[in-house]
Each structure stands twice: as C-alpha cells, then as structure tokens.
C-alpha cells in the first residue's frame, strides 16, 4: 500500500467517524448549550491561535464533539505565510486536494503590505444570536503545516 492509498484509507475511516458525532448531537451529547438555544451572557468559548499540527495531515475540525455557538470568526494569522482552507466535512471526499472542498480560503498576510495590513477574515453569525453554528462542522486546513489561524467563537449561555 503506497502513501496515497494509506491516506485514502485513513481519511475514509475518519469520514465514517463523523457520523457518530451527528448522532451524539441528536442525543444531547455535546459541549455547552444545545443547538438553537439563546442565553443571556456572551462567552468566548474559543479564542487565539488554532493549531491543527496534532491532527493527521494537519486537517482538523474546530471541535471534536459538537459545540454550538452564535458567532464565529476565523482570521489569517498576521506574519504567517500559508493560505488557510475552510471547509465542511465534504473535505474528506477530497483527501489529496483539500482546496477543491474549500468554501473559503483565507489569504496570508505575512508582512502587512496588502490592504493596509488587514488580514483576510471569515465571519459567520446567527442573525438571532442563537447558538446554531456547530464548531465540529467547520474544518480548518492551513496549507503550511503548523500555522495557526486565529479563531474566535462566542456562545450565549
């Protein structure tokens, strides 16, 4: 079995592993409040650089267990050099060309010359500030292994 086949086998297994998470979410096994809830206090449940280096191929969802938030922001980390690919779990169907599954790509901002130093940023927000965004559904793949996009997620608890 060559490396390509090995990766394919691994990723098919990982893709299958997603399904139980969906079932767990339906059963109420998740972090924090359930999907669709709306609390009264805004809490940052995720912030700072997000590393995927510990995951095979450097691809990871934001959380392994479903966790529902009202606001999510992902930013290219200033000073880093690689693009950042954002995708759904469909990315497991594109195991050797992750960019073909991307619903968004964040361009790097390594020296601040572009756009007056603004970093490329992707934002998703529930219009009613309900906790409907499942962090486990959002996959992040920095093109350069070890790079760390900045992720912020707010939940109303």
């Amino acid at each position: 079995m060559n490396r390509r086949e090995l990766f394919g086998k691994f990723l098919r297994a990982s893709g299958a592993a997603i399904e139980p998470e969906v079932i767990r979410a339906s059963d109420g096994s998740y972090h924090g409040p359930p999907g669709g809830s709306r609390g009264s206090q805004l809490v940052a449940v995720m912030s700072g650089p997000f590393s995927t280096a510990g995951s095979p191929l450097g691809l990871s969802n934001l959380t392994q267990i479903p966790q529902f938030v009202a606001y999510l922001r992902i930013q290219a980390h200033p000073g880093q050099h690689g693009k950042v690919i954002l995708a759904s779990s469909y990315i497991y169907n594109c195991w050797n060309h992750f960019e073909d599954a991307a619903f968004a790509e964040l361009w790097p901002n390594y020296d601040g010359r572009m756009d007056d130093g603004r970093s490329d940023t992707w934002v998703l927000q529930d219009v009613h500030w309900q906790n409907t965004i499942n962090l486990a559904d959002i996959y992040v793949y920095p093109e350069i292994w070890g790079e760390t996009p900045l992720v912020t997620a707010y939940q109303l608890v």
Partner: protein
Amino acid sequence: MLVMSPSGGPVTVDSVPVPLMSRSWMVTKLTIRPRLGQWSKILVGGPDLLPDESNSIAVLYPVPNGGEADAFTVQDPAGKNSIDISQIYVYATIPGDTPLVDTFYYRTV
C-alpha cells in the same frame, strides 16, 4: 435542535453563467468570493446574467497577489432558509476559474 450547516465549495465556470446549483436549494446565508490567486473578475446575478456584466448584482475583483478577497454576501435577516441558490448565477471572465461559494442553511437535527 436547530443547527446551521455548511455547504458549498468551488464552482467551475466555463464559458457561460452557471447557477450555483442545478436544483432548488434554500439557504440562509450565501457568500461568493473570487478564488485567491485566480485572475477572473467574478460576476454574480440571476438567471438573466450576461457575460458583459448586464444584469449583474455584483462584480467581484480578482485577488491575484494576496490581500483581503472581494466578496458578495447575502443573509436572511430573519434567520430563514429563503435564498434559492439555483437562482443565483456566477460567471468568471476567464473560463475554468473557480469562484468559492459558501452557503449555510438551517436544519433540525
């Protein structure tokens, strides 16, 4: 419980405007961005979109050398799945370019 689910990805555009999906698909949020590193302008419109930019609802400038990408975004303010992406067409001025589409829809799990 109510969950907002992601879908979308690159859409390949050849020589004519193409719908984002061939069958009706309702979403609550839609974003279209040029593929970073590609050189096409991206036209966004309805079924009457023409390659000369007639009837376009947005024209997105390419981002060939980095920087924040131009984007067209629409989101239902009431949090409903009200945007039928089969009625949204895109066109890339360079055949074969692949604008990125990201959509989110509400579903109950």
